[in-house]
């Protein structure tokens, strides 16, 4: 967690008018609590996830055919990232095609990033995960479209490509669907600016907002949202567009709640780091380098997750065997209990007994 950031976050967050006067929900949000990392922590998470995945897949290869994993060039964490980034860049394209609102686009991108903090691309290829994240985002932001309409507009995609993964994606997100976005925070700051008396309209031309928004969009290619608060990102992007206006906004906030240090100073390092990140990494990756990664992925992906492969079938059979055993045990338990007469603490009629059995069948946890 970016503990160091949190105090700064508070001061920036409190400023934005879109967030209201009371303690903003943001600080009680699942995003604030569960999806913010320090840069070091973020790196750790990815490295460990990657190492664990490689170990598992290596074992699977070896179990299938001893020695078969030695020649495999597994992806490293950086390469996984690169591939994810490529698929991040597909989301705005699709959203443009479907005319989805910005909320959908930003949310889908957050979902995709969060998914790969819990999963590896070697298990789940980002193409379908991306399509699923986007479909899920249309629903969680209350812009639903039918799955049929969705997949029929995307080449070589069928409803099952999305349905098969939707639950896994939702689960990987911890069912935490609400996402706070920098573009909203930017809008809040922009509204604040309109009410600054000493900032006349010609000093805050609309194109400053547009440019800042462009940088916010660029920031979606980066890890910024996993490290910084939406307001910090918005401010940094505003600062790229117009350092003067950003300064004015910060000054107006300092004037309202004066502290020992002006807000702009408090924020300086943070904004600097975000700006650097946006300028450095705020664009889609080079397609050629990703193609290389994708080619290697075909050789090192987890065979257990490849539908139809030997390892996949083995795993399914194993799962089914376990479920079968469980069902049998349950049914036996019930039968025995029924035979003993008083299974549920009271006498049951035959009809009720039948119902209980039916219920147990349906109760499949």
């Amino acid at each position: 967690m970016a503990a160091e950031n949190s105090t700064k976050a508070t001061s920036a967050e409190a400023g934005s008018s879109s967030l209201g006067k009371k303690k903003p929900l943001y600080e009680a949000s699942t995003q604030y609590k569960n999806w913010r990392y320090s840069p070091e922590r973020l790196e750790d998470v990815r490295t460990q996830l990657n190492a664990a995945a490689v170990a598992v897949i290596r074992n699977t290869f070896e179990a299938d055919e001893p020695g078969s994993s030695s020649g495999v060039a597994f992806l490293d964490a950086g390469e996984e990232q690169l591939l994810v980034k490529l698929y991040i860049s597909k989301i705005p394209q699709l959203c443009g095609h479907f005319r989805f609102p910005e909320e959908v686009e930003a949310t889908a991108i957050s979902y995709l990033k969060r998914f790969y903090l819990k999963n590896t691309v070697m298990d789940w290829h980002p193409k379908n995960v991306m399509l699923t994240a986007l479909f899920l985002a249309t629903k969680t932001t209350n812009n639903p479209i039918s799955l049929e309409a969705y997949t029929s507009n995307i080449p070589k995609t069928s409803p099952s490509d999305v349905l098969d993964l939707e639950f896994l994606v939702a689960q990987s997100l911890g069912f935490e669907f609400a996402v706070w976005h920098a573009h909203r925070a930017l809008w809040g700051i922009w509204l604040d600016l309109q009410s600054l008396p000493d900032l006349s309209a010609d000093l805050r031309p609309q194109d400053v907002y547009e440019i800042a928004l462009k940088h916010v969009r660029a920031s979606r290619f980066t890890d910024a949202e996993l490290i910084y608060t939406p307001s910090q990102i918005a401010l940094a992007c505003l600062s790229i567009a117009s350092p003067l206006i950003c300064q004015r906004w910060a000054d107006s906030k300092s004037a309202v709640s004066p502290s020992s240090q002006p807000l702009s100073e408090v924020l300086e390092d943070t904004l600097g780091a975000i700006k650097f990140m946006v300028m450095q990494a705020g664009q889609p990756p080079d397609v050629e380098s990703v193609r290389e990664v994708d080619r290697r992925l075909k050789l090192c992906k987890n065979p257990e997750k490849v539908v139809g492969s030997k390892a996949y079938l083995a795993r399914i059979a194993e799962d089914e065997h376990r479920a079968e055993q469980k069902r049998n045990k349950k049914a036996n338990d019930v039968r025995r209990a029924l035979a003993e007469g008083d299974p549920f603490g009271s006498e049951l009629t035959d009809k009720e007994k039948a119902e209980r059995l039916a219920e147990l069948d349906e109760d499949d946890d």
Binding site: S18, G20, K22, L25, A28, S29, T30, L49, A52, K118, N119, D123, F135, L136, K139, T140, N142, P144, S146, L147, E148, P159, V162, L163, E166, F167, L168, A170, Q171, S172, G174, F175, E176, F177, A178, R184, E359, D363, D364, D365
Partner: protein
Amino acid sequence: MDAVERANTERQKRWVKDQKVGEGTYAVVYRGREFATGRKVAIKKIKVGQFKDGLDMSAIREVKYLRELHHQNVIELLDVFSSKTNLNLVLEFLDSDLEKIIKDRTLVFLPADIKAWMAMTFRGLEFCHRNFVLHRDLKPNNLLIASDGQLKIADFGLARDFTDPGHKMTCQVITRWYRPPELLFGSRYYSTAVDIWSVGCIFAELMLRTPYLPGETDMDQLKTIFRALGTPTEEDWPGHTKLPDYVPVGQFPRTPLRDLFTAATTDTLNLLSKCLIYEPRKRIGAKEALHHAYFFALPYPSHPSKLPKLSNNTSSRPLDEVDGNVDMNASGPGVKASAPNRLKRKLSSPGDELGGRPLARRLDFTQKRS
């Protein structure tokens, strides 16, 4: 097993399902407990596999909002886990709901009890609104009651956020009897005021012990409202005749609330009338309501633990005493208060599909008399 699956299994192991306690449109509810502590919980199992559009919108909304909202007067979502193709929501266990309590004719409500329920409802709602969440389905059976008497707003299956003021929204929300006139006229740009209207209807119902505005169709709903509160004039509610589905439904005079709520205090009726103002922008807000004189006047709200509870025995205070708030024989306009209302409050049709589904389940208000 992947990390995600493992984490899910860990979660699942924390909870034990005991016994089925109820069934809603899209879920089966079990009583259960936390394995480690024995704490009683409700486990709401939502079938996921059955929808051709994947995860159901109601479930998504419910999870999305309850994951974020934590307040004494909002139902607490303790955990979420999956079992095969089911989504399981672990909720705090709540014994009853306000509808059941209203219908229990053995219970007598004191004005202080009603005040306590209203205060808790407004507190929960103020929290939702402060966090830009519209509930859009407030009614007595969505106000659940904990064993300690605390009231909790539940069922966020129709909720949405409203950060965008100019955003067009569907008007097909809120169970008819609690639906405000702007929605009945098809307004697509509405706000927190829609929930306040519902609270007003619940407030009146607590005093009447029967639904206040039980329309039989959408059209009849407008008539029922206007019969009770008078047909709005252009002055009462500027621009309402320009709303998309506006239809004139007849002229009814405004009768004072006092005629029906004979024994209610002036403060009570003042707050009630402010919840039921036609012009949505003039309707009272949740925060303002909490500062209303009603809540500061005597009698003070009952302590939650002292509130009427569902009783299985019938030997409590007899109903004849009622609460002194209502004249059950008043010829109040449009209010069928004389007998417990027999229209079903919740009419739903399972098997609707997504797209229309979550709305359709609320929209299907075809007459079913029980």
